[in-house]
Symmetry: C2
Subunit: 522 residues, 2 copies
């Protein structure tokens, strides 16, 4: 057992016994997953406090600190609670980022408050799945196997460790989406996405060329000059407000905010409109159906009319960075149909939605597809990255076409296996579904109490992947901060929730209490 596990009882915070929060209406008091968590957030200093300020000053000369929220004490953090350097313990549902704006910030141009930018970075940008200092994870990372994988990092494409197949099967592939039994491992979301695009392009040309056909001398000669036909004009289609990463190929499909893209050369690839649904859904059935049909028609028309062939369409099950935009299962089934009809691959980007957050392990399981997506990308809560696929022809016809030195990281694959075991042991996907239902219903009540302040509540039946709009969003966020809960915005008016999978009803109650307080006061 690692020193980290043992020392958790020595944490200098008020943890000893779990005390359910007072107030708020009753809820089922399920046993807490972390019984050494504090019972409430506690903020004893301004944030950042004096110790944090000193750490920031030290960091500034060598590292860009303008995106910094706060330096953290990860030894003292536990479960849903993130500790800062000054001993403050924050419920890490939603952490807000606050930057003084020295220049215009574009996606806030139309909002009233231009003084501060509130920015959402919860649970390490939704990448911590099963709590800080989770003992099962600490045990896995202290194991001989993990230390060995760190010290002797293999080039997985050439020299995998002997246990690689077994690790894949008991880890990454044990939770593979239905119909997708193969994986290409990567290191983070952006390279998972970009390698899936490469797979799509290679596949497209393979189909066009015909099985077994060799590259032509003209292709071989032109590709070294970055010219067609060797480097063909082909495109990936994405949706307005999508976010798929920040490297050159992925950034060309990211459409959430200008600031991510300005000054960076990009590929001339198309974007289709993503449905803009009206809420509540039950009151806008016909309008939403029409909206989704319009978007699907646009997709189909763009495939036919774009100046070059579309090799794949990439889509998030819920547009996250773009403001928590949802579409119905019908829309996604329609998208699958269009792509199949047109011979275009469908890549479902589950980097943010995957690994349980929506109340299913993969968000696209909510759609009930007849045939699986061609590729599904993952990262964040998986703590490793890559893409799943099922069609063996998506393996390039020759080796070394899709290759790099490390091709992922076995220690992170070991960590994902431990995460999967922890999720399974505690039935955490179910917990997320149930906590989400509770939270959504309570938010519905709040919305009917404050109809001008909670609008477009969304995320029903999508676990804790819940968001709403608030027209005076920035004033609201400010107020929440003074209430001791950090909460964050996305898009232009959205407030979104992204707790970990171990976020339980008693945590939700704390959040709801603070929310109501803030809503009353603004």
């Amino acid at each position: 057992m690692s020193s980290i596990i043992r020392h958790s009882s020595r944490l200098g915070i008020r943890t000893a016994n779990f005390v359910p929060p007072r107030g708020r209406n009753a809820y089922a008091t399920a046993a807490p997953y972390f019984n050494n968590e504090p019972s409430q957030p506690s903020v004893m200093t301004s944030i950042p406090g004096p110790v944090s300020r000193k750490a920031i000053e030290e960091l500034d000369p060598v590292f860009d600190i303008r995106s910094l929220n706060m330096p953290c004490d990860y030894e003292k953090s536990v479960g849903n609670y993130l500790a800062d350097m000054d001993g403050n313990m924050l419920l890490d549902v939603l952490v807000m980022h606050c930057i003084e704006l020295k220049s215009v910030w574009f996606f806030l141009i139309n909002t009233a408050n231009r003084e501060f930018l509130y920015w959402l970075r919860y649970a390490q940008i939704a990448s911590i799945p099963v709590g800080y200092n989770n003992p099962r994870l600490a045990a896995a990372m202290s194991s001989k196997e993990a230390v060995n994988a760190l010290v002797n990092r293999p080039a997985l494409g050439n020299f995998p460790p002997g246990y690689w197949a077994s690790l894949l099967k008991t880890g990454i592939l044990a939770v593979a989406p239905k119909g997708l039994n193969q994986v290409f491992t990567a290191m983070a979301g952006s390279d998972a996405i970009e390698t899936s695009y490469k797979a799509a392009f290679i596949y497209r040309r393979r189909m066009e060329r015909g099985e077994g056909a060799d590259f032509t001398p003209r292709e071989i000669e032109s590709v070294m000059k970055n010219q067609a036909p060797g480097s063909p004009k082909l495109a990936i289609m994405s949706f307005r407000k999508a976010f798929h990463g920040r490297l050159f190929g992925s950034l060309s499909t990211t459409r959430s905010k200008p600031i991510h893209k300005l000054d960076i050369p990009s590929f001339d690839w198309p974007q289709a409109s993503f449905p803009q649904l009206r809420y509540p859904l039950e009151d806008n059935i016909e309008a939403n159906r029409e909206e989704e049909e319009k978007c699907l028609a646009e997709v189909e028309s763009l495939i036919s009319s774009w100046h070059c062939p579309i090799a794949a369409i990439v889509v998030e099950p819920i547009q996250s960075e773009g403001g928590d935009n949802h579409a119905s299962p019908t829309f996604f089934r329609g998208l699958r149909e269009v792509t199949q009809k047109k011979g275009v691959l469908l890549i479902v980007d589950e980097v943010q939605t995957g690994v349980g957050a929506t109340g299913k392990f993969w968000a696209h399981e909510h759609w009930d597809l007849q045939t699986p997506p061609d590729m599904v990308t993952f990262s964040k809560k998986a703590q490793t990255a890559g893409y799943y696929f099922g069609n063996p022809l998506l393996r390039p016809n020759l080796p070394y076409r899709q290759f790099n030195t490390w091709m992922g990281d076995p220690v992170r694959a070991i960590l994902f296996r431990a995460i999967i075991q922890e999720i399974s042991k505690h039935d955490l996907v179910k917990n997320t579904a149930e906590t989400g239902d509770y939270l959504y219903k309570e938010l519905e009540k709040l919305a009917s109490k404050f109809p001008e302040r909670i609008q477009n509540l969304r995320g029903k039946d999508r676990g804790t992947f819940i968001a709403f709009d608030t027209p005076r969003r920035d004033a609201f966020l400010k107020k929440m901060k003074t209430c001791g809960v950090n909460i964050g915005g996305s898009g232009e008016t959205a407030v979104r929730l992204r707790p970990m999978l171990i976020f339980q009803k008693h945590h939700a109650s704390i959040l709801l209490e603070k929310l109501e307080l803030a809503l009353k006061e603004i």
Copy 2:
């Protein structure tokens, strides 16, 4: 102390006492860094042997194995010796990859032997710096700090651990190239390169726009459609035969082999000729001077004539994947002058050359530049990745322009710090310089003995970064394999050496012995 360190004495291999290899001429018998290494490679089965074959069969259905060399036993590997699953112990100077060619393999088109492709993957593609199961590294990775960083992986741009500044200063920045005191951390070579390109584009537009100028509404509107002026036509120039990575931006600058690039859309960016020097250098001074001047003139002319502005030039100190192509310090000083004169940034890609392999910590230290490069990228032997820079204006004018979820990995930064300490403690850069000198001199002798079989010997005064051409390269590689040493090729006719930093003279002697044997027999 970790179990790995303790169990190294229980390794089931003939290690107990170091026995200097017999034969070959005398050399200074420095104390071995690993006294539990075997004294000789040992191959008891065919490679892959029966256990390995079984592991490969198990892996095939779920993972692309066509680039696979062999599954390894990293528990039994030690120092310079890599163990396979069948108990074979290979001196991991140079491991050869052998694939049956079922299709034409383009860069071998002009060679005699098309039956097999021998491919170089030594020391995990030159990424293992200080030996398998290095005890100092195992201790660092078993530490409380490392386990904590693994379990609670921070989003470094938002929530760095409190020790991040200190870790940077005692690790990554402690070995920063002269004049470059800042770092942007990444996860692997490709994203290190791509983020450095993004920095170059953002910087370029900042200079063009003028300090403090805002983005125009037209830029903001056009960028969301991937169009100029928001997404401008700007280029990165690279050199023929360069290798800089495999994602969309980096691949657009990679020019080593068609197979890396075919079917992948790319940016219309220019390539300049890299000097093709004649050997031996001392007999071709004038011709080489002319060749380098011609290349510099081409660079200058391309900057002026390309259809869009060049934001940066990226160059490897020694072109590695392209066949170990060298240029003189005079050439690189000239390149620095041209870039400064033309207002183009210079990015030195030290992903393969960095961290000691050339007998200096950074290969560009050999050039004696008057002003440092604008950015230097690193990965591989650093076991983490990123780019160094010095000019504070290379930090974008606003946060979140250069950002991603993880922005590197603290546990790998901890590992790099341990690597730096190990290098320093044993003076391993000096060892590499000295072993390299010895190896180079002995190879010179072999070259004069077999002038038709060792040609264009290169890498003098560049540590163990040594290569030569052999016209019957593939037959030679085959022969070496039967001699029990795996050695690899690069480019079309090159054989190149890439040992770890702990490769000592007694290891070099084993290699030289086998080389001579093979040269005699082909």
